[in-house]
């Protein structure tokens, strides 16, 4: 077992080196050997994918390596990051070498010969590397064509393919981290939060929180065995992290569209409570401008009346019990303020009045109703 794990580590190092200037010292024999290693590990992947114990040992070792490499993917080109990557480690290696300008002429020439022996050349492999590389190129072109000519960003953010794919990846990683780290994925998520563009990350988190509990792709395709893969579990980890990180939660609730937050809130009750708490907090910062006749904040970062109204209005369209809870919260705030019925004295009275006068009927807003249709199961 140990020799196998060491092989894994060595190959992972080779993979890291393959995108550095060190490849300038590689000769054709080095390239050939590296590719042979990759082929061997791909064989290991197919051989032990369904072997729980061995697979878990390999997963643990790979994960630890990845961590050591520089703490959760902060290095731009990691080695092997999970067991799944073993399945296409030959592609990873080939692409990195091809893109590396430091690879010498002879070595490069040899690489191309190895990768593309030409059509019709008999290959001993079941799915020749040449064909898998071509298939990847074909898929990339397909994505490009669909993106360019047929694709439109989906108004339902969690349904958007780009976001959905990122959410699936995040959940998959979370799953691995949960398995490997005793203290849970909190550190991992926080490091991502610090490093990645936050606006996109927030949307991905929301999409991940809304992924259906069942794995989206059939399991046998991935040689999946290490326990059932349920993004729902990863979602739970995300909820815990958000609950522990009040500043992230505040940005999350402030920056995402109202409709999306409502759907997230009705799916995750723990989050809905914090969300309502934040909304009432923000509301308390507003005061009534007598001259203009509107509710305003003192500081520029304060929430506006319109934002607050939009969020409550969207929440009131949610199915019960969330909707009832929202009304209860508004009413109790109103009672705390003195239960006035006249506008301009308590923001809660005004919000309730505004919401009551234009009480929207669920289903009349096409964007939101279709969100419900796709997300309520």
């Amino acid at each position: 077992m140990e020799p196998l794990l060491q092989h894994l580590e060595r190959f992972s190092e080779v993979l890291v080196v393959s995108s550095t200037t060190h490849v300038s010292t590689w000769d054709p024999a080095t390239v050939r050997r590296a590719l042979q290693w990759a082929r061997y590990l791909r064989h290991i992947y197919r051989r032990f994918g369904r072997h729980g114990r061995i697979r878990r040992a390999m997963e643990r070792r790979l994960h630890n390596r990845w961590r050591l490499e520089g703490g959760f993917g902060s290095s731009p080109v990691p080695g092997l990051t999970n067991f799944q990557a073993l399945g296409h480690c030959d592609i990873l290696l080939s692409l990195r070498l091809l893109e590396n300008r430091d690879l010498g002429d002879a070595a490069r020439h040899h690489l191309l010969q190895q990768l593309f022996p030409g059509p019709g050349v008999p290959d001993t492999e079941e799915e020749p590397l040449q064909d898998r590389l071509a298939c990847l190129a074909r898929r990339r072109s397909a994505v490009h064509l669909l993106c360019f000519y047929g694709y439109k960003e989906n108004q339902n953010l969690p349904e958007d393919s780009l976001l959905k794919t990122q959410a699936e990846m995040l959940l998959e990683r979370l799953q691995e981290v949960v398995k490997a780290e005793a203290e849970g994925p909190s550190m991992f998520l926080s490091s991502l939060w610090e490093r990645l563009p936050q606006n996109n990350f927030l949307k991905v988190i929301a999409a991940a929180l809304l992924q259906p509990p069942l794995p989206p792709r059939p399991q046998e395709e991935d040689l999946e065995l290490g326990g059932p893969k349920t993004p729902g579990e990863g979602g739970q980890e995300l909820v815990h992290w958000l609950l522990g990180k009040s500043e992230v939660m505040a940005v999350f609730c402030r920056h995402l569209p109202a409709g999306l937050l409502t759907v997230v809130a009705s799916r995750h009750r723990e989050l809905s409570r914090v969300y309502l708490g934040l909304l009432t907090d923000w509301g308390r910062h507003l005061h009534y401008d007598l001259q203009k006749g509107i509710w305003v904040g003192d500081e520029s970062q304060d929430v506006t009346w319109e934002e607050l109204y939009d969020r409550f209005q969207s929440l009131c369209q949610a199915p019960p019990p969330l909707k009832d809870e929202v009304v209860t919260v508004l009413k109790s705030c109103k009672a705390q303020d003195g239960d006035f019925e006249v506008p301009g004295l308590s923001i809660w009275t005004d919000l309730l009045l505004a919401l009551g006068s234009k009480r929207p009927v669920l289903g009349l807003l096409p964007g939101l109703s279709s969100l419900w249709a796709t997300l309520c199961y």
Binding site: W66, G73, S74, P78, T81, Q84, H88, I91, L92, L95, L98, E99, R101, D105, R108, H109, L112, Q113, F116, G118, P119, Q130, L133, A134, L136, A137, R138, R139, R140, S141, A142, V143, H144, L145, L146, C147, F148, Y149, G150, Y151, K152, N154, E159, D160, S161, L162, T165, Q166, E168, M169, L170, R173, L192, L196, P197, N200, F201, R217, P366, S370
Partner: protein, 563 residues
């Protein structure tokens, strides 16, 4: 070889011109033209690779000074990269251009330029959205990890959008604009054979616009149909039905494709014909009457063009039988009335013909036969029955269910009673539909005489093949038509299999009869058809089955020898 290289050079010029025009793939015309030429261009790339592989670098540059330009233009065309194996062949062509031992910096530069093209093909089209790239990289993922998943999500999202479009036609806000559907069908042309894209192809085929106009590109239909016929994709029957209903040329191509397969397959093997027919999905799709009419029309033309060749007739019958099976499977309660499929036929005749003989006890088969004969005779002889389309239409309808004619022959031979006129008429009509009533009456007389002879012969203790053939010739009009002769040969052959005395002399008699290739094939066809029919109808013919199989083998061997 020299001719090949001239061809390649002129092809090269042609494609160079095309690629320059396609360069601006932004215009609809250039996209359409690209889609139209993708298979041919791939073929050209293959030929080019074959030539490049054999040449050294200097020869290549000498013969094709602009080759770098040609390949580079191809590398930047996403339609080409997305099509079938083009990206792979393109890479292989580029690999041929790499100079193993670059002599100067110029050659090294060229090498690295070619390598950058290869890299471009393999990692083409990074996202212009930076944050997505940063996010995936931050998670430690490479494009190879997520492109399959991304493509799958895009395909499913587009497919569900199209389905909503279909269901939710009135909600104009959620509707996919027809132009978008059109452009989607266009970009799917190169993608049709990519398994990941199948759900989208299916959704496009089943999604209708709300206008009368077709919103999908004709090239899309062509590409899907071609891929389906070549078995490069599999699609549910519902999607195939949509394809063939929406695009008539595709349906015609599918039927012609089946015809070609039937023609190139072994003659006289109904089992194989049945496999081809079922495999074509046409019988299942024909449950939709509009498709049935077209297929049937094409069979009708094939019959007319071949003067009713027995092979075509057999194919029509097997097709009809597969179609009826599919119809029963598809809907226990018929969605469309039978009349819909045979609009010119009398409904009662269609009903009787469609009866499955296995639903009737074997002893009662003469009843539906008589009924069929009476109905047909009435239609054929009653010239005023304009709506039924004349004798040919009636014959064509009956020919679909030609198994009944064989049953009639067996019924006549198995009974010692006076042959019923209805059955004689039915056979005379089936074998020579164009005869006038006088000629038909003559044929009936001849058949009756032959039947009488056969009956007498069957009672004899010993029987010789020569006696049998002489009996068949007795009382025959010297210039009886080919139909009547074929009918009498059928009677003899059936007699040889079904009557105990006949079986004893079958080998000799067949040897005497099979004096020309044409008749040998006819006998082979008869044996194959009989075995196939008995098997289907569950007819047990002890002794006859084995004999038929043996004779069939012997005749096959004989034909092989003669060839």
């Amino acid at each position: 070889m020299a001719q090949d290289s001239v061809d390649l050079s002129s092809d090269y010029q042609f494609w160079m011109g095309k690629l320059s025009v396609w360069d601006q793939a932004s215009t609809l015309e250039s996209q359409q033209d690209t889609c139209l030429h993708l298979p041919q261009f791939q073929e050209f790339l293959r030929k080019l690779y074959g030539a490049l592989k054999e040449m050294d670098f200097n020869t290549v540059i000498e013969r094709f000074p602009t080759i770098g330009q040609l390949l580079a233009k191809s590398c930047w065309n996403s339609f080409i990269l997305a099509y079938d194996e083009s990206q792979k062949i393109l890479i292989c062509c580029l690999c041929c251009l790499i100079n193993k031992e670059p002599q100067n910096s110029e050659e090294s530069k060229l090498n690295s330029w070619i390598q950058s093209l290869i890299s471009h093909i393999l990692s083409a089209f990074r996202f212009d959205k930076k944050e997505v790239g940063r996010f995936t990289q931050g998670l430690g993922y490479a494009p190879v990890d997520y492109y399959p998943g991304l493509l799958k999500n895009m395909v499913l999202s587009l497919a569900s959008e199209l389905r909503e479009n279909h269901l939710d036609g009135f909600n104009t806000q959620r509707r996919m604009a027809p132009e978008r559907v059109t452009s989607l069908s266009r970009v799917c042309v190169p993608l049709v054979t990519l398994p990941d894209v199948e759900p989208l192809v299916e959704a496009l085929l089943t999604c209708h616009g709300h206008e009368d106009q077709e919103i999908l590109w004709p090239e899309f239909f062509d590409a899907v149909n071609e891929a389906f016929l070549q078995k490069k994709i599999s699609l549910p029957t519902s999607a195939i039905v949509c394809l063939w209903l929406r695009h008539l040329p595709s349906l015609e191509k599918a039927v012609l494709h089946l015809f070609e397969k039937l023609i190139s397959s072994e003659r006289n093997c109904l089992r194989r014909i049945e496999c081809f027919i079922k495999d074509s999905s046409l019988p299942q799709a024909a449950c939709h009457p509009a498709i049935f009419w077209i297929v049937d029309e094409m069979f009708r033309y094939a019959l007319l063009e071949t003067d009713g060749a027995p092979e075509v007739l057999a194919a029509v019958q097997v097709f009809t039988q597969c179609f009826v099976e599919a119809l029963e499977k598809e809907n226990k309660q018929l969605k469309f009335s039978l009349k819909t499929y045979f609009p010119y036929a009398s409904p009662s005749l269609a009903m009787v013909l469609l009866q499955n003989p296995t639903d009737i006890p074997q002893g009662h088969w003469h009843q539906p036969l008589k009924h069929i004969s009476e109905l047909l005779r009435k239609i054929v002889e009653d010239q005023t029955c304009g709506s039924c389309g004349g004798p040919f239409e009636s014959w064509f309808l009956f020919a679909h269910f030609g198994g009944w004619a064989n049953t009639a022959i067996e019924q006549l031979l198995m009974s010692e009673a006076e042959p019923p006129a209805a059955l004689l008429w039915l056979l005379a009509f089936y074998y020579s539909p164009c005869d006038g009533s006088q000629q038909r009456a003559q044929t009936m007389v001849e058949v009756r005489a032959v039947l009488g002879c056969l009956l007498r012969l069957s009672r004899r203790a010993t029987l010789s093949a020569r006696d049998l053939l002489a009996a068949a010739g007795e009382g025959r009009d010297a210039d009886a038509g080919p139909g009547a002769s074929a009918l009498i040969r059928r009677l003899l052959l059936t007699f040889l299999l079904r009557v105990p005395g006949g079986r004893a002399i079958a080998r000799d008699a067949v040897a005497l009869m099979a004096h020309t290739d044409e008749i040998t094939h006819e006998i082979i066809g008869f044996l194959d058809q009989t075995l196939y029919r008995w098997d289907r109808l569950g007819i047990e013919a002890p002794g006859a089955g084995e004999l038929a199989k043996e004779l069939l083998q012997e005749l096959h061997a004989q034909v092989q020898q003669r060839m």
